[in-house]
């Protein structure tokens, strides 16, 4: 095991960390005290200096996202915490909220100071009710202690934070869909522009940040943006949480400095492949990113640019490990079923394409496929890619194309003619 600096998981396993007392005893809310002495723009500058990028999946620079919010529009500004965590293979935000809820609240208050936001919501997926209970309790404690409410830490700054529960829809993790859902509608993604920074929740300036992004803020304020930027690689600063699942000896959530070698991570941190089997493939960033073969994993570093160079993406850091026994055709079929189920149905290429691809794959597995079906699937992928309002169709295209291209013979083996 390495002894790298931790930003998110420092106190994750410590007893009683959910309580305000223990959180404070371990240095909690010191960053907020410091942030309260800073100008809002100085906080934004610090986050820009840190190089922090959105940890939900897109990797957009957080400070830059914040700086798009227009000032003095006469409308309120909203901060929405995206805790809809639904990308298959991802379970890090759940851990952060369950074990260290005040870290999220502190991060959110800091973000609200920077954005001059006075009303904020945590959009938690409905399935995480037991997680929401922990967060709600922490919010109650924060109100009672004067950290939230009419005057944050006795300063002239009012802030309310509420938990808003989703009710089961993957698409609501997409930020404009999340906003629609929060407004009380079907979670149909919106056409951009306007971007949420200009017109989001209730047509007001809105920033949507992931739980992991927000929980990096207390560390950045305490240690300075430069200290954060000193960690990681040229374009990937700081640390990243990886949720590791599948055929691995020690599944779980790990925090490593960006730029950590993928194979060392799997073998040293995660205990290697289950039952002494050989690695077959890795989906490094949630099921929506292209799969890497075992050979392709060699030499790859866990950061935005190295994974991009390898033909995949860091995504949410939801790493799914597949051993040599994995049937890749069946795996792709399960993945394709997910996207077909979760398509919101708004855009024709996605509504029809995800369902069509899933059907072709099921047909293939049932022994009723033809060799031409493989090219048909690739054609369906071409017809969906880049032709929809949100990235859900592309999220289906990436596994379809990468599985079929890299493991074509396994699909051909199912073809009868």
């Amino acid at each position: 095991m390495t002894t790298m600096t931790k930003i998110h998981l420092t106190n994750i396993d410590k007893p009683g960390q959910q309580s305000l007392d223990k959180y404070r005893e371990r240095g909690g809310y010191k960053a907020l005290e410091k942030a309260l002495t800073m100008e809002p723009l100085a906080i934004i500058e610090e986050v820009k200096t840190s190089g922090l990028r959105g940890r939900g999946g897109a990797g957009f620079p957080t400070g830059m996202k914040w700086s798009f919010v227009p000032r003095n529009t006469g409308k309120p500004t909203f901060l929405l915490c995206n805790a809809d965590e639904s990308e298959p293979g991802t379970f890090k935000d759940r851990l952060l909220m369950e074990r260290d809820p005040h870290l999220l609240i502190e991060g959110m208050v800091i973000a609200c100071l920077a954005l001059q936001c006075h009303l904020s919501y945590i959009y938690i997926r409905g399935e995480y009710e037991f997680v929401a209970n922990v967060v709600n309790q922490a919010i109650e404690e924060a109100y009672a202690a004067g950290i939230l409410g009419a005057s944050v830490m006795s300063k002239d700054f009012a802030l309310d934070i509420h938990v808003h529960m989703g009710q089961g829809a993957y698409i609501c993790g997409e930020e404009t869909s999340l906003i629609e859902s929060l407004e009380g509608y079907r979670g149909y993604p919106r056409i951009k522009p306007p971007f949420p920074a200009v017109s989001g929740f209730l047509a007001s300036p809105t920033v949507v940040n992931n739980v992991e992004t927000l929980t990096a803020l207390p560390w950045i304020i305490n240690n300075g943006g430069a200290a954060h930027a000193a960690m990681g690689t040229e374009k990937s600063k700081g640390t990243k949480l990886f949720s590791v699942s599948g055929h691995i000896n020690k599944p779980g959530v790990y925090e490593v400095e960006l730029g950590y070698p993928l194979m060392d991570f799997i073998n040293n941190e995660c205990g290697g492949i289950r039952d002494g089997k050989k690695l077959k493939a890795v989906i490094p960033g949630g099921s929506s990113v292209p799969v890497l073969t075992a050979a392709e994993c060699v030499g790859v570093l866990l950061d935005y640019e190295s994974l991009l160079k390898a033909g995949t993406m860091l995504g949410s850091g939801g790493m799914i490990v597949l051993d040599e026994t994995t049937n890749m055709a069946q795996t792709l079929s399960v993945i394709a079923d997910f996207y077909a189920h979760e398509s919101c149905g708004q855009c024709t290429p996605c509504r029809e394409g995800t369902g069509w691809a899933a059907k072709v794959l099921r047909n293939l597995l049932a022994g009723k496929g033809k060799k031409s079906d493989i090219n048909l699937l690739l054609k369906i992928a071409d017809m969906m890619e880049g032709k929809t309002i949100c990235p859900l169709a592309d999220a289906d295209v990436m596994p379809i194309r990468s599985f079929l291209t890299k493991f074509r013979s396994e699909f051909e083996a199912y073809c009868t003619e």
Binding site: T90, G184, T331
Partner: protein
Amino acid sequence: MSEIQFSEEAKRRFDTILSHYPEKRAALIPVLALAQREFGWISDEVADYVGQLMDYPPADVLSVASFYTMLHRKPVGKYHLDVCRTVSCWLMGTYPCVDKIKELLGVEAEEITPDGLFSWNFTECLGSCGTAPAMQVGDRYFENLKPEKMSEIIEQLRKEDESK
């Protein structure tokens, strides 16, 4: 006016939910979740009632309810088992567990046992990939499932019901 009514406690909860939003419409989904908790599922009658409370036509309420998989448009058992079939759970053995559930309960997906106690269905990723396979029952997760653990879990739920 609707025949059904929220309990006093649910009415208080309703007021609290509304107080969290600058616009009433934003409370619709949490109110639907509250209604499901009260009445078991979102029937046309429940949608009517929610529409009255929220000042929206029932068709609008139903268009929203039908989008979200956790809002049931059909009755479910008192204990509804949502079993994750997404990639990590599937890799770790969703289907052997589902076979066991079917054998123990004697019902297919979306059917309810004759005593009204149980129903089950597949669900997509629960965010429990590191503790796969997993299922959700109400506000609880059961994780690291194995076929041989299923009868124990179902017995536990049965006992919970008896002691209520």
